[in-house]
Symmetry: C2
Subunit: 218 residues, 2 copies
């Protein structure tokens, strides 16, 4: 297994240019970090590689300044080029096994898993963490299929050794239950990036996550 740097997935904010009401990714990320995001994933399926690269360079600077983990969606080449902390791969992206082969061993590899079988498979090929879901129903991504629920999430968290981030339909009121089901963190998109007060919404999620981790330890 590759030795990646320590990373904090507890409040994992994913940007989405289509949901941010015209605000730039830089603005969204700055606000999310101010609200307590511990990890930022830059997602944009519409930009050309060149534009995405320049945006990624900018977010790399912002996150480095604040000591926040920075994950690139899909583009492994861009992740390596801008020295992101890691890359996250969904089912339309480079296969995890191919990505792990070409990535520096210290780089974080996150993979989306929809069920236990996938989770075990991606752990086997060198994933550093798993994004597991959709936990709850969500309108953010198409074709995510039937939500796996807190039970499905808990089963996967039990069976794998690498950290799990719950994703899909998570907001401040549901974040605690995701952590109590065994997830290390919660990934949020629309609950945070589509509202007027991004920092405030992130702060609420971060508070719920912190409280649930405290309960889990006690």
């Amino acid at each position: 297994m590759p030795a990646v740097k320590p990373f904090d997935l507890s409040v994992y904010v994913i940007t989405d240019n289509r949901l941010s009401g015209g605000r730039s990714a830089g603005e969204v990320v700055t606000e999310a970090i101010a609200g307590g995001a511990t990890c930022i994933q830059l997602r944009d399926k519409e930009l050309f590689t060149r534009e995405y690269f320049y945006l990624a360079e900018q977010i790399r600077e912002l996150t480095l300044e604040k000591g926040v983990t920075f994950i690139i969606n899909d583009h492994v080449d861009v992740a390596i080029a801008v020295k992101a902390d890691g890359v996250h791969l969904g089912e339309d992206d480079l296969p995890a096994v191919a990505a792990r082969r070409i990535m520096p061993p210290h780089m974080i590899l996150g993979v989306t898993a929809r069920n236990l079988q996938q989770a075990l498979q991606f752990q086997e090929v060198g994933a550093s963490y798993l994004g597991v879901g959709a936990v709850f129903p969500t309108a953010t991504k198409d074709n995510t299929g039937q939500p796996i629920g807190l039970e499905g999430l808990a089963e996967i968290c039990c069976e794998v050794k690498i950290p799990v981030v719950g994703i899909g339909g998570i907001n401040a009121s549901k974040a605690g239950s995701v952590i109590l089901a065994g997830a290390r963190g919660v990934a949020v998109v629309s609950a945070v990036v589509s509202v007027p007060d991004i920092a405030g919404a992130t702060r609420e999620v971060a508070g719920a996550v912190k409280e649930a981790h405290r309960q889990r330890r006690s």
Copy 2:
């Protein structure tokens, strides 16, 4: 300067899924190689990375079998993952300087140059060859601007040390003039991949290129 493997750019065929009349990239490439293509560039701006990766694996096998140089358009990560011979970057792709930094030094880096200034700049940052054009008017790509003509091409071929491939509106009847202007090879898209007999059309281009190289040597 990186030491790349020897490569033959003389008959450089670029696939285009929108121009191939429903024929698969595998079919197009097989025919083009049968007609004498010495280099294949796989271009598809519409596929998700995952699908592009599987297609690239397939074309890598085909080209390896026939000893033909294989170049990936845009996706540096896929190029590395499938062990392509190289990558070609246009103006919407990863900047050449960033790509060179993350590519294995033996891998070919091709870059599109529209004028002498760009040509010298890309040579400086480690391009292995340049795709220069559009030489003639073309409908294949949008926004290529005013064609540079054979004079513009000849000027660049004179001034740079790395091989140049002419691109843009080239067919069998124009291929010879591109070589005589100083280009090492000709890149063809629609003249070859959009016609019923891909092998035949490639053969005509290859014949014209060979004859012009013979004239240049004598």
